[in-house]
């Protein structure tokens, strides 16, 4: 996305679009389409599944504006939801026959017990 945002609103929108490319294989043209969709539609939602990104206005999925066929390239997620105010990532659920885990925690592995900075100020 070869442009320099002039406002924080543009910056955030652009950053969200760039974040999207971490998960989906999209062309620059498609990315711009998503950018403008988010810019122009106050109720814009981008829903990403395994193989596509759907551009939706409001929560009514029956009125999908457009579906972009785009493979999800990150096997650690099952989808995303993007709007003007949200960026949700749905971590991959590994079926019970597998050995993985599910949940929404980030990739951190913090056990703050090792970093206990109690100040005993009680």
């Amino acid at each position: 996305m070869n442009f320099e945002p002039q406002t924080y609103e543009e910056l955030i929108r652009m950053k969200r679009c760039v974040e999207l490319t971490k998960y989906y294989e999209v062309t620059e043209e498609e990315l711009w389409e998503i950018y403008h969709f988010l810019e122009q539609e106050p109720e814009a939602f981008i829903k990403g599944g395994r193989q596509n990104l759907s551009l939706i206005i409001g929560q009514n999925t029956a009125t999908t504006q457009k579906v972009i066929m785009a493979n999800c390239t990150d096997s650690s997620i099952d989808g995303i939801l993007l709007s003007r105010t949200e960026f949700k990532v749905f971590p991959h659920y590994t079926p019970s026959s597998g050995s993985g885990s599910s949940g929404g925690s980030s990739s951190n592995n913090n056990n703050n017990n090792n970093n206990n900075n109690n100040n005993n100020n009680r």
């Binding site: 955030i12 193989q51 099952d78 989808g79 990532v89 079926p95 929404g104 056990n111 017990n113």
Partner: protein
């Protein structure tokens, strides 16, 4: 490249020699491309598909009515398909598909004109009839309005010497269903008096679409009655294999309606190069995939998958289907019919369920996982709603441990912390109970307020005055450290805000402490990761201690809550420096 195998219906002509009173093609049964070479279109399409490494494993001819083609044209077309199968036999069979003979769907009325070609290439015939035959005579008439049954039965006799498949199908509407006994009699008649393989016969269930208002669909209950009557009449007879097999196979898992996305596999090509989903979607814009002469194969394939996805999502995903143990077989049915009926589920749902049971298809033991898988692939509903509960066989689940210990409740409560960013509220949820990660985009001009229910300072605390709102800021950058060599998010800051300070916040509401943390976040602006989301976790000082006491005393809890369990939200912090850093955004 990975070879993609598709099922191709080819419609070499839209012309028909009959004018069935309920024909779904209505005014489309005239050939708009007379004079064109129907073989050329198929050859062109096959060559273009092959260039894109797409191989039709099956090419069937459909109409209009293929027998209206001139004899030589029909011959050349069949010959081409026959040779195609010979040439491609190894590739197709190696991929696990069966190679048959050229196959046509026909009304049988003009078959006599092509009987030599049928014989020469051992063409597989699938005829269509109305049952009972009295309704065939009534509905399936010539353009002059005359009956066609006698001639069709004569033509069926011509097939006696043809070794390959000779089958018929019948579509059942309520008008047919009302003459059930006669249908049974006529099946017996066809079995006894014709060369048709009535064990290979199949029923289709009609739906209200383009039948000129003449025919009406059966209710799901009537479909079941129909199915059961057929079994009563034919189980244990010489047609036992049929009634327990091919007759109702259309509703089984082998057919197109049971694909996740039929647009990935099934295509109908018209003589003018237009490509649709199938005969149901023919001439319907929502099921039009492009034109083989004008569009690339890649575009056509992508359009197909996209349109079928969209068509499925025009109707909501029924809860009934989400809970159904046969979703793995049914996949909610045909998107075309669902949209005709304005329903999200298959119009033959009850019939399918009965058939699955009768044929020994086991209910899905992991139905919740199948539903989740299906939703993430084919639905626009949010997947977290369908995320299966994960049970550990070895030790209790975290939710179970929390339910058994009241002291843990508020460490994990999803309704006690919120983040307000420029007026938009985000609930903070335990990061190990979350079903999704939520990422915020903050800037130095964002107003960020942390909201905490006031009672939180009293939870698991004898002296709230000494208790504090406890914030942890972690970087998206990872660090590996210590004996364990664990990799974790790097700690940026811990911040405690005591009751006395919270009490004085001017933004407080009746039940909520509301505290502006914009300045605190800004203070560490240079420490945040720019490529990975940073992490804000919150709790109270006392609840944090409570968590670690529990960890010390309960190994199962320790295992289940080995990562920080507190309510969190992830964020990027975008600064002017980043805004001016062209590299950051020109990477794409």
């Amino acid at each position: 490249m990975n070879t993609k195998f598709i099922h191709l219906l080819y419609v070499p002509t839209m012309a028909c020699n009959m004018q069935c009173r309920y024909c779904y093609l209505e005014d489309h049964t005239v050939d708009t491309l007379r004079g064109g070479d129907c073989l050329e279109t198929l050859q062109y399409a096959i060559a273009k598909f092959r260039e894109a490494d797409v191989v039709p494993f099956n090419i069937s001819l459909h109409g209009g009515e293929v027998t209206t083609l001139p004899e030589q044209e029909f011959h050349d077309l069949i010959q081409y398909i026959s040779r195609y199968y010979q040439d491609m036999r190894e590739l197709i069979t190696d991929a696990g598909f069966r190679v048959g003979h050229p196959h046509i769907k026909t009304n049988l009325y003009g078959l006599d004109r092509h009987i030599e070609t049928v014989r020469e290439f051992n063409v597989s015939i699938s005829g269509s009839l109305d049952l009972p035959l009295s309704l065939h005579e009534k509905y399936r008439v010539t353009k002059g309005g005359e009956g066609t049954l006698e001639r069709i039965l004569d033509n069926i006799r011509l097939l006696e010497e043809i070794p390959d498949k000779k089958k018929v199908s019948a579509t059942i509407f309520r008008e047919h269903f009302e003459q059930l006994d006669q249908i049974i009699e006529d099946i017996r008649f066809l079995d006894r008096n014709t060369c048709l393989d009535m064990n290979d016969f199949n029923f289709m269930i009609g739906f209200d679409y383009n039948s000129c208002g003449l025919l009406h669909h059966m209710s799901e209950e009537e479909q079941l009655i129909f199915y059961r009557r057929m079994h009563e009449a034919f189980d244990g007879t010489n047609l036992d294999a049929g009634v327990n097999g091919a007759w109702f196979d259309e509703f089984g898992p082998e057919y197109c309606t049971n694909c996740d996305n039929c647009g990935e596999k099934f295509f109908l090509l018209e003589r003018n190069g237009d490509i649709y989903s199938c005969v149901r979607g023919q001439k319907n814009e929502d099921f039009y995939y492009g034109n083989i002469y004008r569009d690339t194969v890649d575009t056509i394939l992508k359009t197909a998958a996209r349109k079928i996805f969209q068509n499925h999502n025009r109707q909501p995903f029924p809860e009934e289907c989400a809970r159904c143990a046969y979703l793995y077989l049914c996949k909610t049915g045909c998107p075309f019919v669902k949209n005709v009926y304005g329903s999200g589920k298959s119009y033959t749902c009850l019939l399918q369920q009965q058939m699955y049971r009768d044929r020994g298809y086991a209910p899905d033991a992991s139905a919740d996982e199948t539903t989740y898988e299906y939703v993430t692939k084919m639905r626009l509903e949010e997947p977290e709603k369908y995320l299966p509960a994960k049970a550990s066989a070895e030790y209790p689940a975290l939710e179970q441990i929390i339910a058994q210990d009241a002291k843990l409740k508020y460490i994990y409560d999803s309704g006690v912390f919120e983040l307000d960013v420029d007026g938009d509220r985000y609930p903070l949820i335990s990061q190990i109970l979350r079903k999704s990660r939520e990422i915020l985009y903050l800037t130095p001009i964002s107003t960020v307020k942390l909201r905490m229910k006031k009672h939180m300072l009293q939870e698991e605390c004898d002296y709230p005055e000494n208790n504090a709102l406890y914030l942890m800021l972690l970087s998206g950058d990872l660090v590996t450290y210590g004996d364990e060599g664990r990799t974790k998010q790097r700690h940026i800051a811990t911040h405690q805000i005591y009751k006395g300070v919270l009490d004085h916040s001017g933004d407080n509401e009746e039940e909520w402490y509301v505290y502006d943390i914009s300045g605190l976040l800004r203070e560490y602006a240079k420490e945040y990761a720019t490529d990975s989301p940073n992490n804000l976790l919150v709790t109270t000082t006392e609840l944090r201690d409570c968590h670690y006491r529990k960890q010390e005393n309960n190994a199962y809890y320790h295992i289940q809550a080995i990562n920080l369990p507190f309510q969190n939200i992830e964020f990027y912090y975008l600064t002017l420096d980043q805004k001016n850093d062209k590299e950051a955004f020109h990477e794409f």
